[in-house]
């Protein structure tokens, strides 16, 4: 099997722009007297980004070989046309939506994705807090695109485009964009919701480029200025060590598996919704939201309602 020649790597091309935009955001937030950046948090995010690039060298090659292998059995010869680039823009983005939703709803996938949510800050450096372990297996979800007939080089290129697009939405410096853009595209406002731990925002807005998928599949929530986003994890980590950030959920899974009493429990600990437990020691995002909704629905006692 000969591998298709690759297209340019959008991420590699965008690195200088990433650096300049982070510096610009630091200057802007400083001028606004906001504390957007903290030294150790930023260092951890950048170390995660660098590690992701290094791991991506090996994992990316494996993924590319797999895409080429599947492409040998393609159903259609799509080839390189203007319309095929348009088509893959949507097809890859839908794949990303599925991947991202799975990454929040199954603990095995969450273990690789959690580090991206582990900062309590929300700034452009947070975008670079990327996984070290996901690249080993997450490409599996992109194989159907090769089977349909999209050239592997085009798939990898579009994955890069999506990653570059998602960089600039990790900011508080932009509030809301014009309504037609907010309706169709993933924006800083929509993605702030995704990174927030407020019960109303948990596990929402999985979009990569187009927010349309969330609107279509019922996972969209708009940012509410009355409920400002609190960023991070339901149970925030207390470390800036990149290795611990990258591996902590895998370690937690291993500990749970050691204590599991049956295969059912092992499967739940490995694949079920993050936060599932058999002793009530932690809660899933669904349980947190349900609890919050119950509390919000409680009638206010007349004696305590007046000011």
């Amino acid at each position: 099997m000969t591998l298709e020649p690759r297209l340019a790597d959008p991420v590699q091309l965008a690195v200088p722009a990433f650096i300049l935009l982070v510096l610009l955001e630091i200057a802007v937030t400083r001028a606004q007297r906001r504390s957007a950046y903290e030294l150790r948090d930023t260092a951890a995010s950048l170390a995660m980004g660098l590690g992701n690039l290094v791991v991506g060298l090996a994992a990316g090659t494996g993924a590319y070989v797999a895409l080429n292998a599947v492409w040998q059995f393609r159903l259609f010869d799509i080839g390189y046309h203007w319309w095929s680039f348009l088509l893959i823009l949507f097809a890859e983005d839908l794949t990303y939506y599925a991947f991202h939703r799975l990454s929040h709803r199954s603990r095995f996938w969450w273990a690789a994705h959690i580090n991206h949510h582990s900062s309590q800050h929300y700034n452009l450096s947070t975008a670079l807090r990327q996984t070290w372990t996901g690249g080993i297996f997450d490409w599996v979800l992109w194989l159907p695109l090769a089977l349909v007939g999209f050239p592997p080089a085009m798939i990898v290129f579009q994955k890069g485009v999506s990653l570059v697009y998602q960089f600039w939405i990790h900011t508080e410096a932009i509030e809301k964009l014009p309504r037609p853009i907010e309706a169709v595209m993933n924006t800083p406002s929509h993605h702030r919701v995704h990174h927030a731990t407020n019960p109303r925002y948990l596990d929402r807005n999985y979009a990569g480029i187009f927010i349309l998928w969330d609107r279509l599949f019922g996972s969209f929530v708009a940012e509410d200025p009355a409920d400002p986003c609190r960023y991070g994890l339901v149970r925030n980590i207390g470390t800036f060590n990149p290795l611990r950030i990258a591996l902590h959920e895998w370690v937690a899974i291993l500990r749970d598996l050691r204590q599991a009493r049956s295969w059912h429990e092992r499967c739940v600990f490995l694949f079920a919704l993050p936060g599932r437990s058999f002793d009530g020691s932690r809660r899933t995002t669904d349980e947190i939201r349900a609890e919050w909704l119950r509390a919000a629905a409680l009638p206010v006692h007349p004696s305590t309602s007046s000011g």
């Binding site: 690195v15 510096l23 630091i26 903290e38 030294l39 980590i237 207390g238 370690v251």
Partner: protein
């Protein structure tokens, strides 16, 4: 990143150095200091069902221990850079409690933050007895 082209590694490394210098120069090395109000606010956000009782704040403002109003495990609120994090400390989660005069050292199995040191003048011994690991407390 292209392994054949070292520039593709040098640019991110140079960028990281530049960004960290900019963050440091703009006051990014700050650290939050816990007070009662901040500890209670974060406790309410992170452990909404926890009814706070007595509280002891570390002399450096790096952590706060909070006992529940109605028994059960304690909560600890601790500083992580300019933010804080919260843990529910059940006795079974605690592997070791060491008392060194006014200094209380608590060790848990938490992979991301498993060691807490608090200076609690006049209060350390009482909190140590509250937190004794399960097997020794019995």
């Amino acid at each position: 990143m292209d392994p054949q082209n070292p520039v593709t590694l040098l640019i991110p490394l140079f960028g990281i150095a530049l960004i960290l210098a900019a963050v440091w120069l703009t006051g990014g090395a700050r650290r939050v200091r816990l007070d009662r109000a901040l500890a209670l606010r974060r406790l309410a956000e992170d452990l909404p069902g926890f009814a706070a009782g007595e509280m002891a704040i570390d002399a450096e403002g790096a952590a706060a221990l909070i006992a529940p109003a109605a028994g059960g495990g304690c909560a600890i609120v601790f500083v992580a850079g300019d933010r804080v994090a919260v843990r529910h400390l059940d006795r079974r989660d605690i592997s070791r409690v060491v008392l060194e005069q006014d200094r209380l050292l608590i060790e848990t199995g938490d992979f991301t933050h498993g060691r807490f040191a608090l200076r609690l003048p006049g209060e350390a011994a009482r909190w140590a007895s509250l937190l004794e690991p399960q097997e020794r407390a019995a």
